[in-house]
């Protein structure tokens, strides 16, 4: 739900990355975090298992700056894609203003894509929302996959409402910003339209052509363009063995569907680790690699000289309860 706050002179909107497990939602957000200008982004906070599967959500604020006197901010969230986590996924969807559906191009994942899209429709319905009235776009991610389905086939199976679509290779950063830009534009347009009396519902834009990867953000997509590369990345996350195993607690609740080799290191108590990356964190794999997945909020933007530590741990439903601790230091307001 858009919040318009005339006292703070702010407009806040909530954008959610949705889609099946492992489709690349968290990766999208990591790229946005890595590449957005320093002054526009806040920290990236992840509530995930040790295996880096999203457990509750990833979150980062993105500040568009001053728009006609109102500081306009997007709160970006990802949901956990695994079927098992529907209760938390639904919570993240509450009050959503726009959705980026991240689909996996692997032909074998098509049924999961369809199931997840259907699940999105149903979860929105539970909040009394009709997907056709909600700004949303679809991203066909993992275009580099050897077994990638054609865009036409994906379109006909998934894009029921003719929303804008984008090709992406998220972990190389391709297609991430064009997707977000278009959706953000649709959300802002819907706010503007609401404001003027809501003559039309914020339905999908007419554009049907899928924007190809490797194109600059603003360029409209010529359909002939080939994907930037058809070659498969040598190792789509060789550093990614750290995400192979779910946290012990989660593993007992439900073993990782992917049955990867368990990582022996770092058996942890039931608490879900919270990752917080600094604004200028270097490589993605670094973001993910986390020897000590504990809450850590770096003192970015601390205006006073005093130190600040916030420790948060959130134990979740489905298995657990939520706990938050704040420790406060310097003075801001």
């Amino acid at each position: 739900m858009v919040q318009i706050n005339f006292a703070l002179k702010e407009v806040n909107c909530k954008i959610v990355f949705y889609g099946p497990g492992m489709s690349g939602k968290t990766t999208n957000l990591e790229i946005v975090h890595e590449k957005a200008p320093e002054e526009n982004k806040g920290e990236l906070t992840s509530i995930s298992t040790d295996g880096d599967r999203t457990l509750f959500f990833d979150f980062m604020p993105l500040d568009l700056g001053n728009v006609a006197g109102m500081r306009t901010k997007f709160q970006l969230y990802t949901v956990p894609g695994q079927v098992y986590y529907n209760s938390t996924r639904k919570l993240v969807l509450q009050g959503v203003d726009g959705v980026i559906f991240v689909a996996d191009s692997d032909a074998e994942k098509m049924s999961e894509n369809i199931e997840s899209y259907q699940n999105l429709i149903e979860n929105l319905q539970e909040y009394g929302k009709d997907i056709r009235e909600l700004p949303h776009v679809i991203q066909y991610n993992k275009r580099d996959h050897a077994n990638a389905m054609s865009v036409e086939d994906m379109d006909s199976q998934l894009n029921k409402f003719g929303v804008p679509t984008f090709e992406a290779v998220a972990y190389r950063g391709e297609g991430v910003f064009p997707t977000l830009k278009t959706l953000a534009g649709m959300v802002l347009e819907s706010i503007d339209r609401m404001d003027r009396g809501g003559k039309r519902a914020p339905a999908a834009e007419p554009a049907r052509a899928t924007q190809k990867v490797g194109k600059p953000a603003a360029a409209p997509a010529p359909r002939v363009a080939a994907p930037a590369s058809t070659q498969r990345p040598s190792s789509p996350k060789s550093a990614g063995s750290n995400r192979a195993a779910a946290a012990p607690s989660m593993a007992t609740a439900r073993p990782s569907a992917r049955g990867k080799a368990p990582v022996a290191a770092n058996p942890r108590p039931a608490a879900a680790p919270m990752r917080t990356s600094t604004a200028g964190k270097p490589a993605l794999s670094q973001n993910r690699r986390q020897a000590q997945p504990v809450a850590r909020v770096p003192a970015r933007r601390a205006s006073g000289g005093l130190a600040l530590v916030i420790t948060l741990s959130v134990l979740l439903v489905g298995a657990a309860a939520g706990v938050v601790y704040f420790f406060m230091g310097s003075n801001l307001s």
Binding site: Q3, F6, N12, P37, E43, T45, K181, V297, G322
Partner: protein, 172 residues
């Protein structure tokens, strides 16, 4: 889609947003300041259920209000879901105890959360007592503001075009 639903779409869109006007926030700020004085708590944040800050009072010493607001809303939502599964209507309050600082969360009306930070200069009993009173008064303010949300457009006429420009700038 039924006719009735079509007719109400415009209303629904407006209902789908939360608008706070300066004079209402001034009233809220006053209430929060009074609450802090009476209870001895350090600070109070009013956060909407989507995790956006509405207003804050007191010594707020954190670097990232956006993140805190998102986490507060998330953990409250999770708790609420737990309540539902246990057959409770809703847990209307939550309390987190730290070594030095504590947090009390309470529902205000059906759309906002009052988040109170306090330390050992006061007690959870005092905080809860005054928080309940304050929540009631806040709920009254919200009730009286609801009707006003249908007034003239809220954002400037140039908001849409300026927003496009800003997006181009951010994503170029």
């Amino acid at each position: 889609m039924s006719e009735a639903k079509k007719m109400s779409r415009n209303d629904k869109l407006r209902h789908d947003r939360l608008t706070f006007y300066k004079d209402d926030i001034d009233k809220i700020d006053k209430l929060l300041a009074e609450f802090l004085r009476l209870s001895g708590a350090k600070s109070a944040l009013l956060i909407d259920k989507e995790g956006h800050l509405v207003t804050k009072r007191g010594e707020i010493k954190t670097i990232d209000i956006d993140t805190i607001s998102a986490l507060v809303a998330g953990s409250f939502a999770a708790t609420k879901e737990m309540a539902r599964l246990l057959g409770e209507e809703e847990f209307t309050a939550m309390y987190h105890q730290g070594e030095r600082d504590n947090i009390q969360l309470g529902l205000v009306g059906d759309r906002t959360l009052l988040t109170i930070l306090f330390d050992d200069r006061t007690t959870v009993g005092m905080v809860r007592l005054y928080a309940n009173e304050t929540a009631k008064k806040l709920a009254d303010i919200f009730k009286s503001t609801m009707g006003r949300q249908h007034e003239s457009p809220d954002l400037g006429a140039d908001y849409g075009t300026n927003a496009k420009k800003s997006l181009d700038k951010l994503f170029d």
